[in-house]
């Protein structure tokens, strides 16, 4: 589906599965070379319009994807998956990326089993009261997303009071920062579809 045919874009934040349509031309599957497949990292990403667009610059896409995977999936000595996904969802909610928020709110619900709290973040916004630990993660993510960046020693103190150690705080910083990368690609190169 092309963006021109996207008659039904989502207008609220949701945990439902959404599609995404590009505003400029992705590569065609038939155009992909081994250099492109290296950039896609996982071969199945050739089925995604978003990744076939980003693979126009395969070296950057490859490095970005590997950064993403380690920040979110490598849970050794760090923050639980649920809270990395919470940082991603809060950042996306604040920046206004309905597509990214849907994906990472869904992951946050899956890993935390706190679907209603995640939904309140989407419905009420980043000021929703989600308890001390989640509030600290959301506040830190939002402070990092602001431009100029508002992240301060107070955010570190709050995260520590909520029980996070230094390695876990680095995971919050990485997860929230990464979504300032992801949001700007998803928001600027295309749009979500239901």
């Amino acid at each position: 589906m092309s963006a021109a045919n996207n008659a039904n874009p989502p207008v609220v934040f949701t945990q439902d599965e959404l599609g995404w349509v590009s505003w400029i031309d992705p590569l065609l599957e038939a155009e992909l070379t081994e250099r492109h497949f290296a950039g896609l990292v996982d071969r199945f990403r050739s089925k995604s319009e978003y990744f076939r667009l980003l693979v126009r610059d395969p070296e950057v896409l490859e490095a970005r994807t590997k950064t993403d995977k380690d920040i979110f999936y490598n849970v050794a000595d760090g923050l639980p998956r649920a809270e990395r996904e919470l940082a991603a969802a809060a950042t996306s909610r604040y920046n206004g990326c309905i597509y990214c928020a849907s994906v990472h709110a869904r992951f946050a619900s899956t890993y935390s089993k706190r679907r209603d709290d995640v939904q309140r973040l989407l419905d009420e916004g980043v000021g929703a009261d989600l308890g001390e630990r989640w509030n600290a993660v959301v506040k830190a993510s939002v402070a990092l997303a602001a431009t100029p960046i508002a992240f301060s020693p107070d955010n570190i103190d709050e995260l520590r009071r909520a029980g996070l150690d230094d390695a876990e705080i680095v995971d919050v910083i990485n997860g929230a920062s990464f979504f300032n990368w992801a949001n700007r690609l998803m928001l600027s190169l295309g749009e979500p579809s239901k």
């Binding site: 609220v12 950057v60 990092l144 431009t147 700007r184």
Partner: protein, 208 residues
């Protein structure tokens, strides 16, 4: 202990320090943040986005974040790029003109419209446009949109870039550049704030 990468350099992280040790636990993220930087600033193929365009956009984007250490780094990079030195002053003037606070912008029409927030819609000054040229002028206007009001981005913005001479591939690289810098400046700032707090903790412990 790892060799200092660009994030270490910009955040002031020394080999063997506590933060270096924590970063070593995410070695793939660390190495690939560095590879992202190198792919954008030392690309295999600069055919769709020139090196001077990359450096000028980087200085503009980081300047808008008002992060002086990193802005200094990218200012030096632009000045050292062939044909870049002549652009530094124009970019600095445009940074000053574009400074504001974000994110702001409009949501799709519907229940979220109550959260819409108006703010500066930046356009390159008529005086500086000849210095920058059509491609960079369009790039700066788009970069400002992405930095401060990404939720305002629309299909028409892609048409404006195409009309200014950007290719589809160039738009992808340029978007990655702005988005990557938005990541890099936050990791650097976050790690620097955390690092300062570690120093404070150590000093307090030493004094106790």
């Amino acid at each position: 202990m790892a060799t200092k990468d660009i994030i270490d350099t910009l955040a002031g992280i020394e080999p063997g320090s506590a933060l270096d040790g924590i970063r070593a636990k995410r070695i793939q993220a660390r190495d690939n943040a560095q590879k992202s930087y190198l792919s954008l600033f030392e690309p295999i193929d600069a055919g769709d986005v020139s090196l001077v365009e990359r450096a000028a956009v980087a200085l503009f984007v980081i300047g808008l974040h008002r992060e002086p250490t990193m802005a200094g780094f990218y200012r030096a990079k632009l000045a050292a790029t062939a044909d870049g030195a002549r652009l530094v002053e124009a970019v600095d003037v445009e940074i000053a003109r574009g400074e504001t606070s974000g994110p702001y912008g409009a949501f799709p029409t519907g229940p979220l419209s109550v959260e819409n927030k108006a703010g500066l819609i930046y356009r390159v000054s008529a005086e500086r446009k000849p210095d920058l040229g059509d491609r960079l002028a369009a790039a700066f206007e788009h970069a400002h949109l992405l930095v401060f009001r990404p939720r305002d981005a629309a299909a028409a913005d892609m048409k404006a870039l195409l009309a200014a001479g950007w290719s589809n591939t160039g738009i992808v690289t340029f978007s990655q550049l702005v988005a990557f810098l938005s990541f890099q400046v936050r990791v650097v700032t976050g790690l620097r704030v955390l690092g300062a707090s570690l120093g404070r903790t150590t000093n307090a412990a030493a004094g106790a």
